[in-house]
Amino acid sequence: MDYRYLPVTGEDKEEMLKTIGVDAIDELFEDVPENIRFAGEMDLPKALGETDLLKEMKRLSDRNANVQDCVSYLGAGVYEHYIPTVVDHVLRRSEFYTAYTPYQPEISQGELQAIFEFQTMISELTGMDIANSSMYDGPTALAEAALMAASENRGKRRTIVVSETIHPEALDVLKTYAAGPGLTVKIVPEKDGRTDLDKLEKTIDADTAGVIVQYPNFYGTIEDLAAVRQAADKENSLMIVSANPLSLGILTPPGHFGADIVAGDAQPLGIPMQFGGPHCGFFATTKKHIRKVPGRLVGQTEDEDGSRGYVLTLQAREQHIRRDKATSNICSNQALNALAASVAMTALGKKGLRETAERNIKGTHFLKQLLKQKGIQVVHESPSFNEFVINLSRPVSEVNEQLFQHGIIGGYDLGKVSADKKGQMLVCVTELRTREQLETFADQLEVLIHETA
């Protein structure tokens, strides 16, 4: 069989073997002991030509219900937003996607400048001094923020205080990361959809390296960051905020409340949901922590003629230099998705970002009012960004099954988070939902909650 990615011909092979001084490729493997040689052929599905493979992949793709054919109300950390057409057009420039980490700055100025612009945009959005070039995703960025907080104060503080209102999978990831260095994770309970501030204050003590809240939180409500800052200040703990970057088009950024670290996922900005990844973590902080930031940083500099240029910088922080002394092991990041987010932020610009954020808030508020009118209980009274909780008093999975028969993908089943939230649904409304869709959804829900299962 011929392979279109393999250019070596029989004639090439003969010439190359001659130069090497062997008779067969096999001789190049003579140092692989006989008893560990793989015999026979690996048991893999058979190779397919281009046309047949596209058919097979389409078959798999078509076995899924996608949000383009349905109307979705799922959010819970991953969001369906308007993605300007230019975003994917730029991503398909193969000078970007077939390059690797810009180790050779002279031939990587494009990538480096794009990332420098990304760092700037994230700093602007979050209200922080600096941002890095990206992390794997929001939750791992948040976990790395916790590790960085614990490495300050010469590593003497060993506790991370975290609100129960952060994304449950972010909490899971945080616990796994904390287990490595043996940090204690103390969880502050939720009260009316927000962090219980009294309990937060009582939980923070002299061992607290960092305090983590999410903004807007997992239930879509907006935490009182001024109060969190105050609570953290009592013991000089770092304030770490996990933020939805799109919401920061309208919400007061965490930096203005004095956050020390803002982490999150840029997925709402130009990155497709892709069944949960790859997305794009971001990490922003203050100048004070510049030498402890995990991941790559791009900095501006000059060449010998004084021309402006960009390089990877402050690399002494990183694993390839510090090895076991590095505070993070991160190496590759999500550069291509950081590029996607940059292009999306450029396309939206100052005005578009605010307008999009506003549309999310207003659409959400509209549906909230509509559902209330239909007699559906909205669980928390606090203001929302683009998500809120309703109580269906019926198993959410059942309701979702019925909604799906009408081409609707219902919201997230909060019963999966805790037993006392059974029957509660987290509903998400983005700028893509039209008035007609929201009204249909409200009508359907009204019918369904009055049905007995």
Partner: protein
């Protein structure tokens, strides 16, 4: 050739320009201040750029023209496997069923995604010789840390909490010791011997009852196959430790030998290397982890399960180390890797490794007369040469790398592994034609000659790139990590 700076996107901004159009929604107008408290509303707008769509496209096109990828030319960056990124992968990953699905859709709505993931896990288990694979880790480094956390959980379950040390060769990638630290282990270095392989005697000295694991890549970072691997495995296993396989170099062994058969207990793969997920300018990657049976209970949850031709997530995993990443890993990259595996099949993947090794050996022998070759045996998919000889002429490896830019190539990995002086690590990959290898070898030979005859010219390279050598010391001493008006004014000079 040197080119004027591409202005930052912020410097092209003019109030009133847009490059977007939001969908019509017909939602009745409401006042924001009726919904949100005053203190929650941002009072100062973020300084995002305001440009038209064409300005945007020209900006990013200009930036892409100032960048170099595999599609631009030969990119023999050692240990990174810069092979061709098939275009069909980019098409399949964008199919609506893959790209426009939400991770929290009920399993019944996403059976196609789960089927693909399941079959990919099986294929990777077969290729590596492991019993189970998780696709959750985001990248190689996260895979390493995940694997070490699994080993730690196993030791703890066996009551062997005194196993606090991870052994790492001196030639290992920096992520290995860093991952060990993040997983809560101490790290111990084992030396490389004169053959370029793990020093067995030294390994025996440092292995003991505190040994939790040995991390190894095979072929190692010098591109050499650890032929004593069974004795190495035996040494570690007899002491009660486990073997971790860093899959960064798996491009050399597909269908030839498998980590599982070499005695490894845990393995990670870099799907963006061996399995053609593009490198994306630094990521996203994907770092699945494969394990032997005894480690299955500790895998990060949830675990994908198949029953009566239906796929679902098993969340009842009481011994799991917990989640390492939200949702199910870098799914979009996994679609690409699966597409590649289906393109090549078993025979094709074996040919990949054979030709990767053939190409590397050919290039190595062509360069051998002109550069120091610290380890002369047959290499696998990559090899290491040293610029020691040129250094005596005042030309350092960094200079050679910069001079290669003038010849239109991406240089090899330099100064790694750290145990070889003036190191250059070359990985041509199987997707390069002999003509390309010959042209690159000719350029390297020409640079070796230049080093002898006009060393200054090499020291001052590059001469043809859009910017000259950049001042990295300045960047680190006075870090400028974001744009502000001050830096903008400077650029206008």
């Amino acid at each position: 050739m040197k080119q004027p700076n591409q202005p930052l996107i912020f410097e092209q901004s003019k109030s009133g320009r847009v490059a977007y159009s939001l969908p019509e929604t017909n939602i009745p107008e409401q006042s924001l201040s009726d919904i949100l408290p005053e203190a929650s509303i941002r009072n100062e707008e973020p300084a995002l750029p305001e440009v038209s769509e064409l300005q945007l496209v020209r900006h990013y096109t200009a930036l892409s023209n100032r960048n170099y990828g595999v599609d631009s030319g030969f990119y023999p960056l050692g240990s990174c496997t810069m092979k061709y990124n098939p275009k069909i992968n980019e098409e399949t990953a964008r199919m609506a069923g893959f790209a426009a699905t939400h991770p929290y859709q009920p399993e019944t709505q996403v059976q196609g995604n789960l089927e693909m993931m399941h079959d990919l896990q099986q294929a990777l288990a077969e290729i590596t010789g492991m019993d189970e694979v998780t696709l959750q880790p985001a990248a190689g480094a996260q895979g390493e840390w995940t694997g070490l956390m699994l080993i730690r959980a196993l030791h703890e379950a066996n009551g062997e909490t005194e196993r606090t040390e991870v052994i790492v060769p001196d030639s290992a990638h920096g992520t290995n010791p860093a991952s060990a630290t993040v997983a809560g282990f101490d790290h111990v270095t084992v030396r490389t011997d004169a053959r370029g392989l793990v020093d067995l005697e030294h390994l025996k000295e440092v292995t003991g009852e505190r040994t939790a694991a040995l991390m190894l890549t095979n072929p190692n970072t010098l591109g050499l196959f650890e032929e004593d691997i069974m004795e190495i495995a035996d040494t570690i296993h007899r002491a009660g430790g486990r073997l971790y396989y860093d899959g960064a170099n798996s491009n050399a062994i597909m269908g030839i030998t498998r980590p599982g058969d070499m005695g490894f207990d845990v393995v990670h793969l870099n799907l963006h290397k061996t399995f053609t997920g593009p490198h994306g300018g630094g990521g996203p990657g994907s770092g699945p982890v494969g394990v032997k049976k005894e480690l299955i209970p500790y895998l990060p949850g949830p675990v994908l399960t198949k029953e009566n031709d239906k796929y679902y997530w098993d969340k009842d995993r009481p011994h799991s180390i917990g989640r390492v990443k939200p949702y199910y890993g870098n799914f979009g990259i996994n679609v690409r890797a699966y597409t590649y595996i289906r393109t090549m099949g078993a025979e094709g993947l074996k040919k990949v490794s054979e030709y990767a090794v053939l190409n590397a050996n050919y290039l190595m022998r062509r360069l051998e007369p002109y550069f120091d070759l610290p380890y002369g045996r047959h290499c696998k998919h990559e090899f290491v040469i040293s610029g020691r000889r040129q250094k005596q002429l005042g030309v350092r490896t960094l200079d050679i790398a910069k001079r290669l830019l003038d010849y239109g190539y991406h240089p090899p990995t330099i100064y790694f592994p750290i145990n070889v002086e003036e190191c250059m690590m070359v990985e041509p990959t199987e997707t390069e034609a002999k003509e390309t290898l010959d042209a690159f070898a000719d350029a390297m030979i020409e640079i070796a000659r230049e080093a002898e005859e006009s060393s200054e010219m090499v020291q001052e390279a590059p001469h043809t790139t859009v910017v000259g050598r950049l001042d990295e010391t300045l960047a680190a001493r006075k870090p400028v990590l974001t744009y502000n008006t001050e830096t903008s004014l400077k650029s206008m000079k």
